[in-house]
Protein backbone atom coordinates (compact mmCIF):
# COMPACT_ATOMS: atom_id res chain seq x y z
CA UNK A 1 0.00 0.00 0.00
CA UNK A 2 1.16 3.49 -0.76
CA UNK A 3 0.53 4.72 2.77
CA UNK A 4 2.82 2.02 4.16
CA UNK A 5 5.66 3.12 1.95
CA UNK A 6 5.42 6.77 2.86
CA UNK A 7 6.02 7.37 6.57
CA UNK A 8 4.74 10.95 6.26
CA UNK A 9 1.22 9.76 5.44
CA UNK A 10 -0.73 9.40 8.71
CA UNK A 11 -1.95 5.94 9.66
CA UNK A 12 -5.37 7.47 10.39
CA UNK A 13 -6.62 10.72 8.88
CA UNK A 14 -7.50 13.58 11.23
CA UNK A 15 -11.19 13.04 10.46
CA UNK A 16 -11.03 9.35 11.40
CA UNK A 17 -9.15 10.17 14.61
CA UNK A 18 -11.53 12.90 15.76
CA UNK A 19 -14.70 10.96 14.92
CA UNK A 20 -13.27 7.81 16.54
CA UNK A 21 -12.80 9.48 19.94
CA UNK A 22 -16.06 11.46 19.77
CA UNK A 23 -17.87 8.19 19.05
CA UNK A 24 -16.15 6.53 22.00
CA UNK A 25 -17.18 9.35 24.37
CA UNK A 26 -20.77 9.32 23.13
CA UNK A 27 -20.97 5.51 23.17
CA UNK A 28 -19.72 5.24 26.76
CA UNK A 29 -22.24 7.89 27.86
CA UNK A 30 -25.03 6.04 26.02
CA UNK A 31 -23.97 2.74 27.56
CA UNK A 32 -23.85 4.00 31.15
CA UNK A 33 -27.11 5.97 30.92
CA UNK A 34 -28.75 3.09 29.03
CA UNK A 35 -27.92 0.74 31.90
CA UNK A 36 -29.30 3.28 34.39
CA UNK A 37 -32.57 3.55 32.45
CA UNK A 38 -32.74 -0.26 32.16
CA UNK A 39 -32.43 -0.55 35.96
CA UNK A 40 -35.77 1.25 36.36
CA UNK A 41 -37.48 -1.71 34.63
CA UNK A 42 -35.16 -4.72 34.21
CA UNK A 43 -37.84 -6.78 32.46
CA UNK A 44 -38.17 -7.37 28.72
CA UNK A 45 -41.23 -8.22 26.65
CA UNK A 46 -42.16 -9.03 23.07
CA UNK A 47 -44.92 -7.34 21.08
CA UNK A 48 -46.57 -3.97 21.57
CA UNK A 49 -47.19 -3.79 25.32
CA UNK A 50 -45.71 -5.15 28.53
CA UNK A 51 -45.72 -4.22 32.21
CA UNK A 52 -45.39 -5.86 35.62
CA UNK A 53 -48.88 -7.36 35.22
CA UNK A 54 -47.86 -9.25 32.07
CA UNK A 55 -45.43 -12.14 31.58
CA UNK A 56 -41.93 -11.01 30.63
CA UNK A 57 -39.88 -12.54 27.83
CA UNK A 58 -36.96 -12.52 30.27
CA UNK A 59 -35.76 -10.48 33.23
CA UNK A 60 -32.32 -9.27 34.24
CA UNK A 61 -31.68 -10.57 37.79
CA UNK A 62 -30.77 -7.24 39.37
CA UNK A 63 -32.51 -4.89 41.82
CA UNK A 64 -34.56 -2.08 40.30
CA UNK A 65 -34.69 1.66 40.95
CA UNK A 66 -38.50 1.37 41.28
CA UNK A 67 -40.33 -0.33 44.15
CA UNK A 68 -43.18 -1.21 41.76
CA UNK A 69 -41.05 -3.82 39.94
CA UNK A 70 -41.01 -7.30 41.52
CA UNK A 71 -37.31 -8.24 41.33
CA UNK A 72 -37.00 -10.57 44.31
CA UNK A 73 -34.61 -8.09 45.95
CA UNK A 74 -35.56 -5.92 48.94
CA UNK A 75 -33.12 -3.23 47.77
CA UNK A 76 -34.50 -0.34 45.73
CA UNK A 77 -31.71 1.49 43.92
CA UNK A 78 -31.69 5.31 43.65
CA UNK A 79 -33.54 6.77 40.65
CA UNK A 80 -31.03 7.99 38.04
CA UNK A 81 -33.41 8.27 35.09
CA UNK A 82 -33.71 12.07 34.94
CA UNK A 83 -30.11 12.96 34.07
CA UNK A 84 -29.64 9.59 32.36
CA UNK A 85 -32.41 10.35 29.88
CA UNK A 86 -31.12 13.90 29.25
CA UNK A 87 -27.56 12.60 28.70
CA UNK A 88 -28.69 9.56 26.67
CA UNK A 89 -30.40 11.75 24.07
CA UNK A 90 -27.66 14.39 24.05
CA UNK A 91 -25.07 11.64 23.44
CA UNK A 92 -27.34 10.14 20.79
CA UNK A 93 -27.26 13.47 18.93
CA UNK A 94 -23.45 13.54 19.23
CA UNK A 95 -23.04 10.00 17.92
CA UNK A 96 -25.54 10.50 15.06
CA UNK A 97 -23.97 13.76 13.87
CA UNK A 98 -20.44 12.32 14.23
CA UNK A 99 -21.52 9.17 12.39
CA UNK A 100 -23.07 11.15 9.53
CA UNK A 101 -19.93 13.26 9.12
CA UNK A 102 -17.80 10.09 9.19
CA UNK A 103 -19.88 8.15 6.66
CA UNK A 104 -20.09 11.07 4.23
CA UNK A 105 -16.33 11.65 4.58
CA UNK A 106 -15.30 8.01 4.00
CA UNK A 107 -17.55 7.84 0.94
CA UNK A 108 -16.09 11.08 -0.36
CA UNK A 109 -12.42 10.32 0.33
CA UNK A 110 -12.46 6.73 -0.88
CA UNK A 111 -11.43 5.44 2.58
CA UNK A 112 -14.46 3.13 2.51
CA UNK A 113 -13.56 1.64 -0.88
CA UNK A 114 -9.79 1.48 -0.35
CA UNK A 115 -9.45 0.47 3.29
CA UNK A 116 -12.77 -0.92 4.57
CA UNK A 117 -14.40 -2.91 1.78
CA UNK A 118 -12.51 -6.24 1.63
CA UNK A 119 -10.01 -6.32 -1.22
CA UNK A 120 -10.78 -8.63 -4.09
CA UNK A 121 -8.22 -11.22 -2.98
CA UNK A 122 -9.68 -11.20 0.55
CA UNK A 123 -13.19 -12.11 -0.48
CA UNK A 124 -12.82 -15.84 0.16
CA UNK A 125 -13.59 -18.12 3.08
CA UNK A 126 -9.94 -19.08 3.00
CA UNK A 127 -8.87 -15.52 3.75
CA UNK A 128 -11.24 -15.48 6.73
CA UNK A 129 -9.94 -18.82 7.94
CA UNK A 130 -6.33 -17.72 7.72
CA UNK A 131 -6.97 -14.58 9.74
CA UNK A 132 -8.96 -16.44 12.38
CA UNK A 133 -6.39 -19.21 12.77
CA UNK A 134 -3.59 -16.68 13.15
CA UNK A 135 -5.69 -14.98 15.87
CA UNK A 136 -6.28 -18.32 17.58
CA UNK A 137 -2.55 -19.07 17.49
CA UNK A 138 -2.17 -15.58 19.02
CA UNK A 139 0.45 -14.82 16.40
CA UNK A 140 1.87 -11.29 16.66
CA UNK A 141 0.63 -9.00 13.87
CA UNK A 142 2.89 -8.64 10.86
CA UNK A 143 4.50 -5.26 10.17
CA UNK A 144 2.21 -4.70 7.19
CA UNK A 145 -0.82 -4.96 9.47
CA UNK A 146 0.05 -1.66 11.12
CA UNK A 147 -0.98 0.00 7.88
CA UNK A 148 -3.96 -1.96 6.63
CA UNK A 149 -6.91 -4.00 7.86
CA UNK A 150 -7.36 -7.73 7.31
CA UNK A 151 -10.65 -9.18 6.13
CA UNK A 152 -11.95 -9.93 9.64
CA UNK A 153 -11.31 -6.36 10.75
CA UNK A 154 -12.94 -4.95 7.63
CA UNK A 155 -16.02 -7.12 8.07
CA UNK A 156 -16.32 -6.19 11.74
CA UNK A 157 -15.96 -2.45 11.08
CA UNK A 158 -18.44 -2.53 8.18
CA UNK A 159 -20.99 -4.45 10.29
CA UNK A 160 -20.70 -1.94 13.11
CA UNK A 161 -20.93 1.11 10.82
CA UNK A 162 -23.64 -0.07 8.43
CA UNK A 163 -25.66 -2.64 10.41
CA UNK A 164 -25.37 -2.27 14.19
CA UNK A 165 -25.32 1.55 14.43
CA UNK A 166 -28.30 2.07 12.07
CA UNK A 167 -30.16 -0.68 13.98
CA UNK A 168 -29.47 0.76 17.42
CA UNK A 169 -30.61 4.20 16.20
CA UNK A 170 -33.81 2.85 14.63
CA UNK A 171 -34.74 0.65 17.60
CA UNK A 172 -34.07 3.64 19.87
CA UNK A 173 -36.19 6.00 17.77
CA UNK A 174 -39.00 3.41 17.82
CA UNK A 175 -39.23 4.04 21.58
CA UNK A 176 -40.19 7.68 21.01
CA UNK A 177 -43.97 8.14 20.99
CA UNK A 178 -43.61 11.38 19.01
CA UNK A 179 -41.34 9.79 16.38
CA UNK A 180 -43.77 6.86 16.15
CA UNK A 181 -46.65 9.25 15.52
CA UNK A 182 -44.78 10.70 12.52
CA UNK A 183 -43.13 7.48 11.28
CA UNK A 184 -45.25 4.56 12.57
CA UNK A 185 -43.67 2.21 10.02
CA UNK A 186 -40.46 1.71 12.01
CA UNK A 187 -42.00 0.57 15.30
CA UNK A 188 -44.62 -1.54 13.51
CA UNK A 189 -41.96 -3.23 11.36
CA UNK A 190 -39.95 -4.07 14.48
CA UNK A 191 -42.97 -5.87 15.95
CA UNK A 192 -44.21 -3.23 18.39
CA UNK A 193 -42.90 -0.99 21.12
CA UNK A 194 -41.74 -3.72 23.53
CA UNK A 195 -40.09 -5.71 20.73
CA UNK A 196 -38.23 -2.56 19.72
CA UNK A 197 -37.06 -2.07 23.32
CA UNK A 198 -35.85 -5.69 23.55
CA UNK A 199 -34.04 -5.39 20.21
CA UNK A 200 -32.48 -2.07 21.32
CA UNK A 201 -31.08 -3.97 24.32
CA UNK A 202 -29.63 -6.79 22.21
CA UNK A 203 -28.13 -4.52 19.53
CA UNK A 204 -26.52 -2.44 22.30
CA UNK A 205 -25.15 -5.70 23.70
CA UNK A 206 -23.68 -6.55 20.29
CA UNK A 207 -22.03 -3.12 20.15
CA UNK A 208 -20.60 -3.65 23.64
CA UNK A 209 -19.27 -7.04 22.51
CA UNK A 210 -17.59 -5.34 19.55
CA UNK A 211 -16.02 -2.77 21.89
CA UNK A 212 -14.62 -5.51 24.15
CA UNK A 213 -13.18 -7.54 21.25
CA UNK A 214 -11.86 -4.34 19.62
CA UNK A 215 -9.99 -3.33 22.78
CA UNK A 216 -8.71 -6.88 23.26
CA UNK A 217 -7.33 -6.90 19.71
CA UNK A 218 -5.75 -3.48 20.19
CA UNK A 219 -4.01 -4.81 23.30
CA UNK A 220 -2.92 -7.90 21.34
CA UNK A 221 -1.49 -5.77 18.53
CA UNK A 222 0.32 -3.40 20.89
CA UNK A 223 -1.85 -1.03 22.90
CA UNK A 224 0.54 1.93 23.04
CA UNK A 225 1.44 2.00 19.36
CA UNK A 226 -2.14 1.47 18.16
CA UNK A 227 -3.65 4.07 20.52
CA UNK A 228 -0.83 6.49 19.66
CA UNK A 229 -1.67 5.99 15.99
CA UNK A 230 -5.32 6.83 16.65
CA UNK A 231 -4.35 9.98 18.60
CA UNK A 232 -1.40 11.41 16.65
CA UNK A 233 -2.01 9.66 13.35
CA UNK A 234 1.52 8.27 13.27
CA UNK A 235 1.80 4.49 13.08
CA UNK A 236 5.45 4.34 14.07
CA UNK A 237 7.13 7.08 16.10
CA UNK A 238 10.59 5.88 15.03
CA UNK A 239 12.07 2.55 14.22
CA UNK A 240 13.84 2.48 17.58
CA UNK A 241 10.75 2.88 19.76
CA UNK A 242 9.01 0.13 17.81
CA UNK A 243 11.89 -2.21 18.59
CA UNK A 244 11.75 -1.35 22.30
CA UNK A 245 8.02 -2.04 22.34
CA UNK A 246 8.40 -5.42 20.72
CA UNK A 247 10.81 -6.49 23.45
CA UNK A 248 8.53 -5.46 26.33
Amino acid sequence: MASAANPETPRHSALVRVTHWLTLIAFLALLITGVEILISHPRFYWGETGNVNTAPLFTIPIPSSRDTVPTGYKTVLPDQNGWSRYLHFQSAWLIVITGLVYVIAILWSGHLRKDLLPEHSQRTWRAYREVLTSYLRRAPPQDSEAHTYNVAQRSAYLSVIFILFPLVILTGLALSPAFNSAVPFVVNALGGRQSARTLHFFVSGALLLFLIVHVAMVIHAGFTSRVRAMITGRAVESHESEKVEERT
Binding site: I37, S40, H41, R43, N81, R85, Y86, F89, A178
Partner: protein, 252 residues
Protein backbone atom coordinates in the same frame (compact mmCIF):
# COMPACT_ATOMS: atom_id res chain seq x y z
CA UNK B 1 1.66 20.37 11.31
CA UNK B 2 0.94 23.08 8.79
CA UNK B 3 2.59 26.42 9.56
CA UNK B 4 0.24 29.20 10.67
CA UNK B 5 -0.01 31.56 7.73
CA UNK B 6 -1.98 34.76 7.30
CA UNK B 7 -4.14 33.02 4.72
CA UNK B 8 -5.00 30.23 7.19
CA UNK B 9 -5.73 32.73 9.95
CA UNK B 10 -8.10 34.72 7.75
CA UNK B 11 -9.81 31.58 6.52
CA UNK B 12 -10.30 30.26 10.07
CA UNK B 13 -11.63 33.67 11.13
CA UNK B 14 -14.13 33.80 8.29
CA UNK B 15 -15.34 30.26 9.01
CA UNK B 16 -15.70 31.02 12.73
CA UNK B 17 -17.59 34.27 12.06
CA UNK B 18 -19.90 32.57 9.56
CA UNK B 19 -20.53 29.79 12.06
CA UNK B 20 -21.33 32.21 14.88
CA UNK B 21 -23.64 34.26 12.66
CA UNK B 22 -25.33 31.07 11.47
CA UNK B 23 -25.90 29.86 15.03
CA UNK B 24 -27.32 33.24 16.07
CA UNK B 25 -29.68 33.25 13.10
CA UNK B 26 -30.72 29.65 13.81
CA UNK B 27 -31.41 30.50 17.46
CA UNK B 28 -33.54 33.49 16.44
CA UNK B 29 -35.57 31.45 13.95
CA UNK B 30 -35.98 28.63 16.51
CA UNK B 31 -37.22 31.15 19.10
CA UNK B 32 -39.74 32.65 16.68
CA UNK B 33 -41.19 29.29 15.66
CA UNK B 34 -41.34 27.98 19.23
CA UNK B 35 -38.61 25.39 18.86
CA UNK B 36 -36.83 26.09 22.16
CA UNK B 37 -38.05 24.21 25.25
CA UNK B 38 -38.37 26.00 28.63
CA UNK B 39 -35.61 23.76 30.07
CA UNK B 40 -33.13 24.70 27.32
CA UNK B 41 -30.45 25.90 29.75
CA UNK B 42 -27.76 23.92 31.50
CA UNK B 43 -25.51 21.02 30.57
CA UNK B 44 -28.13 19.04 28.64
CA UNK B 45 -29.77 22.07 26.99
CA UNK B 46 -28.24 21.54 23.52
CA UNK B 47 -29.45 17.94 23.24
CA UNK B 48 -32.83 18.80 24.68
CA UNK B 49 -33.30 21.71 22.26
CA UNK B 50 -32.26 19.56 19.26
CA UNK B 51 -34.72 16.85 20.29
CA UNK B 52 -37.63 19.22 20.89
CA UNK B 53 -37.02 21.31 17.76
CA UNK B 54 -36.62 18.34 15.44
CA UNK B 55 -39.61 16.47 16.87
CA UNK B 56 -41.75 19.61 16.67
CA UNK B 57 -40.88 20.01 12.99
CA UNK B 58 -41.41 16.29 12.34
CA UNK B 59 -44.62 15.78 14.31
CA UNK B 60 -46.51 19.02 13.84
CA UNK B 61 -49.68 17.30 12.57
CA UNK B 62 -48.94 13.63 13.18
CA UNK B 63 -51.34 11.42 15.10
CA UNK B 64 -50.27 8.91 17.73
CA UNK B 65 -50.85 5.32 16.69
CA UNK B 66 -54.34 4.04 17.53
CA UNK B 67 -54.94 0.33 18.01
CA UNK B 68 -57.77 -2.11 17.32
CA UNK B 69 -60.06 -2.93 20.24
CA UNK B 70 -58.66 -6.46 20.68
CA UNK B 71 -55.25 -4.98 21.54
CA UNK B 72 -56.54 -3.24 24.69
CA UNK B 73 -54.42 -4.54 27.59
CA UNK B 74 -56.23 -7.02 29.84
CA UNK B 75 -54.22 -5.96 32.86
CA UNK B 76 -53.04 -2.35 32.59
CA UNK B 77 -50.64 -1.16 35.27
CA UNK B 78 -51.83 1.66 37.53
CA UNK B 79 -48.55 3.36 38.41
CA UNK B 80 -49.07 4.69 41.95
CA UNK B 81 -48.11 8.37 41.85
CA UNK B 82 -49.40 8.88 45.37
CA UNK B 83 -50.26 6.47 48.19
CA UNK B 84 -53.02 4.47 46.46
CA UNK B 85 -56.49 5.86 46.99
CA UNK B 86 -55.48 8.54 49.49
CA UNK B 87 -55.77 11.89 47.78
CA UNK B 88 -58.97 11.79 45.72
CA UNK B 89 -60.84 9.96 48.49
CA UNK B 90 -62.79 12.87 49.97
CA UNK B 91 -64.11 13.59 46.48
CA UNK B 92 -64.77 9.92 45.78
CA UNK B 93 -67.27 9.78 48.66
CA UNK B 94 -69.42 12.39 46.95
CA UNK B 95 -69.07 10.67 43.57
CA UNK B 96 -66.78 13.50 42.43
CA UNK B 97 -69.85 15.77 42.18
CA UNK B 98 -67.83 18.62 43.75
CA UNK B 99 -64.83 18.15 41.42
CA UNK B 100 -64.06 21.40 39.62
CA UNK B 101 -61.74 22.26 36.77
CA UNK B 102 -60.66 25.92 36.84
CA UNK B 103 -59.55 27.47 33.55
CA UNK B 104 -57.81 30.83 33.74
CA UNK B 105 -54.88 32.86 32.40
CA UNK B 106 -54.86 34.21 28.86
CA UNK B 107 -58.47 33.34 28.06
CA UNK B 108 -61.43 35.58 27.16
CA UNK B 109 -63.80 33.97 29.69
CA UNK B 110 -62.16 32.32 32.73
CA UNK B 111 -64.42 29.50 33.84
CA UNK B 112 -64.93 26.64 36.25
CA UNK B 113 -66.22 23.30 34.94
CA UNK B 114 -67.85 20.50 36.85
CA UNK B 115 -67.43 16.98 35.47
CA UNK B 116 -70.93 17.10 33.98
CA UNK B 117 -70.10 20.49 32.37
CA UNK B 118 -67.08 18.82 30.75
CA UNK B 119 -69.09 15.80 29.63
CA UNK B 120 -71.66 18.13 28.05
CA UNK B 121 -68.95 19.31 25.62
CA UNK B 122 -68.29 17.19 22.52
CA UNK B 123 -66.28 14.14 23.55
CA UNK B 124 -64.29 11.48 21.76
CA UNK B 125 -62.46 8.25 22.43
CA UNK B 126 -59.08 6.86 21.40
CA UNK B 127 -57.35 3.51 21.85
CA UNK B 128 -53.75 4.51 22.48
CA UNK B 129 -50.70 3.28 24.34
CA UNK B 130 -49.44 4.68 27.63
CA UNK B 131 -45.65 4.41 27.52
CA UNK B 132 -43.72 5.08 30.71
CA UNK B 133 -40.19 6.47 30.60
CA UNK B 134 -39.17 3.41 32.65
CA UNK B 135 -39.94 1.13 29.70
CA UNK B 136 -43.31 -0.52 30.37
CA UNK B 137 -46.53 0.20 28.50
CA UNK B 138 -50.18 -0.72 28.10
CA UNK B 139 -53.01 0.05 25.70
CA UNK B 140 -56.39 1.36 26.86
CA UNK B 141 -59.40 3.09 25.44
CA UNK B 142 -59.58 6.64 26.70
CA UNK B 143 -62.82 8.63 26.63
CA UNK B 144 -62.66 12.33 27.26
CA UNK B 145 -63.18 15.88 26.19
CA UNK B 146 -60.51 17.05 23.74
CA UNK B 147 -58.57 19.89 25.36
CA UNK B 148 -59.36 22.04 22.29
CA UNK B 149 -63.08 21.89 23.16
CA UNK B 150 -62.38 23.33 26.61
CA UNK B 151 -59.98 25.94 25.20
CA UNK B 152 -62.54 26.94 22.54
CA UNK B 153 -65.21 27.28 25.22
CA UNK B 154 -63.15 29.81 27.19
CA UNK B 155 -61.59 31.56 24.18
CA UNK B 156 -57.80 31.38 24.10
CA UNK B 157 -56.06 34.70 23.41
CA UNK B 158 -53.81 34.74 20.33
CA UNK B 159 -50.58 35.28 22.31
CA UNK B 160 -51.03 31.97 24.18
CA UNK B 161 -48.02 29.66 23.95
CA UNK B 162 -48.44 27.11 26.75
CA UNK B 163 -51.18 25.45 28.77
CA UNK B 164 -50.16 24.78 32.37
CA UNK B 165 -52.03 22.09 34.26
CA UNK B 166 -52.22 21.48 37.99
CA UNK B 167 -53.45 18.49 39.93
CA UNK B 168 -54.58 17.86 43.50
CA UNK B 169 -50.92 17.10 44.19
CA UNK B 170 -49.57 20.56 44.88
CA UNK B 171 -46.00 19.68 43.88
CA UNK B 172 -46.88 17.91 40.63
CA UNK B 173 -47.79 20.18 37.75
CA UNK B 174 -46.88 20.29 34.08
CA UNK B 175 -47.36 22.20 30.84
CA UNK B 176 -47.55 21.63 27.09
CA UNK B 177 -47.03 23.90 24.12
CA UNK B 178 -49.95 24.91 21.89
CA UNK B 179 -49.03 22.25 19.28
CA UNK B 180 -49.91 19.59 21.85
CA UNK B 181 -52.68 21.61 23.54
CA UNK B 182 -54.56 21.97 20.24
CA UNK B 183 -53.76 18.43 19.09
CA UNK B 184 -56.90 16.36 18.43
CA UNK B 185 -55.66 13.45 20.61
CA UNK B 186 -54.91 15.59 23.68
CA UNK B 187 -57.80 14.77 26.03
CA UNK B 188 -59.06 15.64 29.43
CA UNK B 189 -59.96 12.00 29.99
CA UNK B 190 -62.77 10.96 32.34
CA UNK B 191 -63.52 7.49 30.97
CA UNK B 192 -61.42 4.38 30.42
CA UNK B 193 -62.31 1.10 28.68
CA UNK B 194 -66.07 1.85 28.56
CA UNK B 195 -66.31 2.86 32.22
CA UNK B 196 -65.52 5.82 34.47
CA UNK B 197 -61.82 6.58 34.81
CA UNK B 198 -60.77 4.76 38.03
CA UNK B 199 -58.90 6.85 40.66
CA UNK B 200 -55.90 4.49 40.34
CA UNK B 201 -55.60 5.62 36.71
CA UNK B 202 -56.11 9.30 37.53
CA UNK B 203 -59.88 9.52 37.88
CA UNK B 204 -62.01 11.50 37.86
CA UNK B 205 -59.99 13.59 35.42
CA UNK B 206 -56.54 13.13 33.90
CA UNK B 207 -54.62 14.68 31.06
CA UNK B 208 -53.98 12.32 28.17
CA UNK B 209 -51.18 13.22 25.74
CA UNK B 210 -50.41 10.10 23.68
CA UNK B 211 -47.54 11.66 21.69
CA UNK B 212 -45.54 12.05 24.90
CA UNK B 213 -44.47 9.62 27.63
CA UNK B 214 -46.76 8.75 30.51
CA UNK B 215 -45.49 11.32 33.00
CA UNK B 216 -46.96 14.16 30.93
CA UNK B 217 -50.43 12.60 31.31
CA UNK B 218 -50.88 14.03 34.81
CA UNK B 219 -53.63 12.52 36.99
CA UNK B 220 -56.33 14.32 39.07
CA UNK B 221 -56.42 17.55 37.03
CA UNK B 222 -57.98 20.56 38.78
CA UNK B 223 -56.75 23.66 36.97
CA UNK B 224 -55.64 24.86 33.55
CA UNK B 225 -53.74 28.14 33.05
CA UNK B 226 -53.09 29.52 29.57
CA UNK B 227 -49.92 31.61 29.34
CA UNK B 228 -47.44 33.14 26.90
CA UNK B 229 -44.39 32.41 29.05
CA UNK B 230 -43.28 29.77 31.56
CA UNK B 231 -41.03 32.25 33.39
CA UNK B 232 -43.31 32.73 36.39
CA UNK B 233 -44.34 29.12 36.93
CA UNK B 234 -42.17 27.33 39.47
CA UNK B 235 -38.52 27.76 38.56
CA UNK B 236 -39.43 28.69 35.00
CA UNK B 237 -38.40 25.34 33.53
CA UNK B 238 -41.86 24.47 32.20
CA UNK B 239 -42.98 21.91 34.76
CA UNK B 240 -42.20 20.14 38.02
CA UNK B 241 -40.33 17.43 36.08
CA UNK B 242 -37.17 19.45 35.23
CA UNK B 243 -37.02 20.64 38.85
CA UNK B 244 -36.65 16.95 39.71
CA UNK B 245 -34.13 16.34 36.93
CA UNK B 246 -36.50 15.09 34.21
CA UNK B 247 -37.02 16.69 30.80
CA UNK B 248 -40.01 18.99 30.23
CA UNK B 249 -40.56 17.58 26.75
CA UNK B 250 -41.24 13.84 26.83
CA UNK B 251 -41.79 12.98 23.16
CA UNK B 252 -38.86 10.58 23.42
Amino acid sequence: MKPITRRNLIRTGVIAATGAAGLTAAARIAQRYGLIPPDHGGLYGPGETLTYASQRLLTKHSLAREFPRHMISKSPFANPTIPPGSAPKPHQVTGFSDWRLQVNGMVAHPASFSLSDLKALPFRSQITEVACEEGWSYIAEWIGTPLTEVLNAVGVLPQARYVVYNSIQQDWWDSIDMADALHPQTFLAWGMNDGDLPPSFGGPLRMRIPRQLGYKSVKFITCLTVTDSMKHFGKGLGSAAPEGGYAWYAGI
